[in-house]
Symmetry: C2
Subunit: 127 residues, 2 copies
């Protein structure tokens, strides 16, 4: 039998916050991963754990693996395999020069975006 208990979710921890947090992550998660990659090589599950530290950014395997494949295909990240001390091999991801440039561009745009949303959310907008 290949089917396990129905409690087995495939090893992926679900975000399980609202649908609005899901929409917030769109487009931001990609650059958060790039930011984490800037500090050194990381592999999939490790990235999930690091993102999980921030409740607002927690995601699942079904999100991270297609995202990483996309980064690689776009030339923003490079990968290599390395054996683990205990368990199967891990696929590590590193930043390319293009990836670093994309992260820099996002880092430039983010503050303006953040301030704009803060300003709109602040009450008493009518001049």
């Amino acid at each position: 039998m290949t089917d396990h208990d129905p409690t087995d979710k495939g090893g992926g921890p679900a975000p399980a916050d609202g649908a609005i947090a899901t929409q917030l992550r769109k487009g931001v998660l990609e650059y958060c991963v790039l930011a984490l990659l800037r500090d050194g090589p990381r592999y999939g599950v490790e990235l999930l754990q690091e993102l999980g530290r921030f409740h607002a950014l927690a995601t699942s395997q079904g999100t991270i693996y297609p995202l990483l494949s996309r980064l690689r295909r776009a030339g923003l990240a490079d990968t290599f395999l390395r054996d683990s001390a205990s368990g199967p091999s891990r696929r590590y991801y590193t930043l390319t020069a293009e990836g670093r440039a994309a992260l820099a561009e996002f880092t430039t745009l983010w503050p303006a975006f953040r301030v704009a949303v803060d300003h709109v959310l602040a009450p008493g907008e009518t001049p």
Copy 2:
């Protein structure tokens, strides 16, 4: 002939920033509109102008009208028609109690999200 000049873009000002700003707007625009509606009734083109004040949130008619229809269908906004002093009637949108609740929920989640992204973007993440 119903076709106008090819210079006519349908009256919609395009965002025309990068693709990354487009992804940033996803999921946020909806609540920014709710926030603007909190200050009083607004109509479509007016909302486009108000959002256009912030370069990061500028969008086009092809985005705002489906969004407003969605808000109405979801019960977050209510609408009424009012004649304009000069021009065709305008469809104004107002917040419902549900809309106010959704806005409040977003206002609660946003700071945590903002701080999380700021923290990830900050260099020297490795402990």
